[in-house]
């Protein structure tokens, strides 16, 4: 009997397909210098590489959260049995956070609940006090006296451990560099530290160090405390924030994947054929883009909700339903947002079709299809690449707004939007419950900011106008 049973959700499959696609693309690009050149330029951008480091951390968490399984239960009557609950690898890693539920709100690193409760004391009287948490700081004998010191020592231990790891990474990097350049360890370190390397390793190490400074103490404290507090039903906020990452990443990437074929095929066709095909495609995207985005998305999502409710029997588990809703949201976001890129690609194709090499291809009798595939597509790819990375952060932000409006992901799915939505009402509480909101916003800010910085680096590297004029606009 297997200790677990893989449970592939639809979005998992698509995510891993995407990962495979990216690897394929990397492999394809490596062998072709003209494709490698812009990426090498991205690699030389300090802000881009630091952002990529942070993004890589997010992607790692998202991928861990994209392997779902059902744990084995003790066998019954000799037959293998598996839990009905679907959990992911990330859930497994974060088990200390997931399973330590409190009763209700508690502040970050608190040892007591946030609300007073009536408790019976030993001598039978009833008093109202802030009860101790079941898990947060439960190991402390006297929280009042020990808490500060305990947090400091644990945090310091975590910091020390992570610093050692960071130093290890730095030394490893130097070692690789000595092997490449043949210089000594010390020279390699000096090169990196004085920023003389082609790839800005100093910036990468700084970003990594900054990440470590945060991750170390948090990881050391997380098993014993609720580092970011707990929410209304007592769930750890840090756990929720980490789970939200996958939702954001899935929406940001899969929606652009849906949008891409529409924009690419229709845009290039409109620009290349001109005439009535262009008219039809233009009419089509003017019509779609004339509907204000949120309204179109809302209308489509409302209809999708009714559809899913009518066919409830197709989606037996909550996870499956939430997953299908997530995918449907991606499709809707993609279908409603391809018009902008399509317009850009049409313009570019209009320009390119008048170029001599296309005329030459015509003269040689190359078919329309082949001209579009071989001669037009590769030459508009920089626009596609820029649009892809630029759209990502917008989609992550849009998810939060849509969830607030009520047309976002399934309410049972943890996402930045649902976190903000449920925490919003607690602003009116006295004293205020701020940590859920703060956590969601900070995680979102980090993700979107690093995505934006990376997108800028990609744009600077791919946009021919910027390269010719010599650097950033």
């Amino acid at each position: 009997m297997m200790p677990f049973l893989f449970e592939w959700l639809w979005s998992d499959l698509l995510v891993w397909l995407l990962v495979a696609g990216v690897f394929g693309l990397v492999f394809y690009t490596r062998a072709r210098p003209h494709l490698r050149a812009p990426w090498a330029r991205v690699g030389r951008s300090a802000s881009g590489m630091s952002a990529a480091t942070v993004l890589a951390m997010f992607v790692l968490i998202g991928l861990l959260d994209s392997v779902h399984y059902r744990a084995a239960l003790p066998p019954q009557d000799g037959k293998a049995a598996y839990a009905t609950e679907v959990s992911s690898l990330l859930d497994r890693v974060l088990a200390p956070l997931r399973l330590t539920r409190e009763k209700t709100y508690s502040a970050p690193l608190a040892t007591h609940l946030y609300a007073k409760e009536t408790v019976q004391t030993a001598d039978g009287r009833e008093t109202r006090l802030y009860p101790r948490l079941r898990h947060g700081g439960a190991h402390l004998a006297d929280p009042q006296a020990d808490r500060g010191r305990d947090i400091a020592t644990r945090g310091f231990h975590g910091l020390a451990l992570v610093l050692v790891l960071w130093l290890g990474a730095a030394v490893g990097l130097c070692a690789v560099r000595t092997r490449r350049t043949g210089s000594g360890m010390e020279a390699a370190w000096r090169d990196i530290w004085q920023g003389r390397t082609a790839v800005p390793w100093r910036a990468v190490l700084c970003a990594l160090g900054l990440l470590c400074l945060i991750i170390g103490p948090v990881a050391a404290l997380a098993p014993n405390y609720h580092v970011l507090g707990t929410d209304k039903v007592g769930q750890d906020v840090l756990y929720q924030a980490l789970k939200s990452i996958r939702t954001g990443l899935v929406i940001g990437t899969l929606a652009t994947m849906v949008m891409l074929p529409f924009a690419l095929v229709l845009g290039v066709m409109a620009g290349y054929f001109k005439g009535w095909i262009d008219d039809v495609i233009q009419y089509f995207y003017t019509t779609l883009s004339s509907i204000p985005g949120v309204l179109l998305i809302a209308a489509a999502v409302l209809m999708m909700q009714v559809f899913i409710e009518r066919h409830a029997e197709w989606f037996p588990t909550t996870e499956l339903r939430a997953d299908v809703r997530l995918l449907a949201l991606c499709v809707i976001l993609g279908v409603t947002s391809w018009t902008g890129l399509c317009r850009l690609l049409r313009g570019e194709a209009l320009k390119l079709r008048e170029m001599e090499y296309i005329q030459a291809a015509h003269a040689f009798g190359v078919s329309h299809w082949r001209i579009m595939m071989r001669h037009l597509m590769p030459n508009v790819m920089h626009i596609v690449m820029i649009a892809l990375v630029m759209d990502f952060s917008g989609l992550v932000l849009a998810e939060a707004v849509l969830s607030y409006v009520g047309v976002g992901v399934d309410p049972s799915m943890i996402s930045f939007g649902t976190m903000i939505n449920s925490a919003r009402l607690e602003m009116a509480r006295e004293p205020m419950v701020w940590w859920s909101l703060a956590a969601a916003f900070m995680f979102m800010l980090t993700l979107v900011l690093s995505a934006n910085l990376f997108a800028d680096a990609v744009r600077d590297a791919f946009d021919p106008r910027l390269i010719i004029s010599g650097g950033r606009a």
Binding site: A299, M303, M427
Partner: protein, 325 residues
Amino acid sequence: MSAYIVRRLIYGVFVLLGVNVLTFALFFFVNTPDDMARAQLGLKRVTPEAVAKWKHERGYDKPLFINEKISGLGRVTETIFFDKSIRLFAFQFGASDQGRNIGYDISSRMWPSLAVQVPAFVIGLAVYITFALLMAFFRATYIDFWGVVLCVLMMSISALFYIIGGQYVFGKLWSLVPISGYDSGFNAIKFLLLPVLIGVISGIGGNARWYRTIFLEEINKDYVRTARAKGLSETRVLFRHVLQNAMIPILTGVVVVIPLLFLGALITESFFGIPGLGSYTIDAIRQQDFAIVRAMVFLGSVLYIIGLILTDISYTLVDPRVRFS
């Protein structure tokens, strides 16, 4: 010119027809009126009679395109398509699924939306262009660099954060303005200050950076070099020459949104409790009132098409070279 506008208007009508067919397909083919009735009445334990009654009250029990039972013009007019789609062209929005008159609601809720949106739009435009000009003036210096960093940071923050943070700081902490609500006449001003301010601030990042790119693109052109060579001061170059020539790309992005100001800002209005069209739409979405959503989709498209035509007209105003025939 007028012939061009007439042609654009006719094209606009065709686009609206497309929008109508699209929404009609979305609302009546993906799900039948029966499904909508069940979604509204609660999925379980709903009798067929209740569904039929719900449909009849709202006119959803007619045939989709052609009514076989009636002769003459009624064959086409007594259908769902005519009732729910074609009537929109005459701005007859009909009744919402809750039975309220949508046309009346829209005309009365339009004003609070405009009261927030117009000041936010005008002040915002002035602020964004000023910031962008400043960054362009100090280009390739530390002011420019940190200005761009600030812009990227500000555009990475969720709009929800600006609203919640603004409400907390200005409304709760400093008690300068009420957190939410609305009043009639001039009493509304104290309720409008914060939404307008937040509307402006939340747009700074993206917009200032966008205008800066436009200005920098102009600044590298030959006529700017000529102007400098003539000995004009840098401020004069920026304001007299660059700003004027950057008007076309600015107008492209700006004029098209002016008519859409009517629709209001969805989340701002709902957070601040402003009874405008934005909160109207959100409420309709939350209550799954399909009639209102359909009406707003149509209205939004009409306003967008008006915006496109206005954009074309505005080109002729700022650039004498542009002539439409």
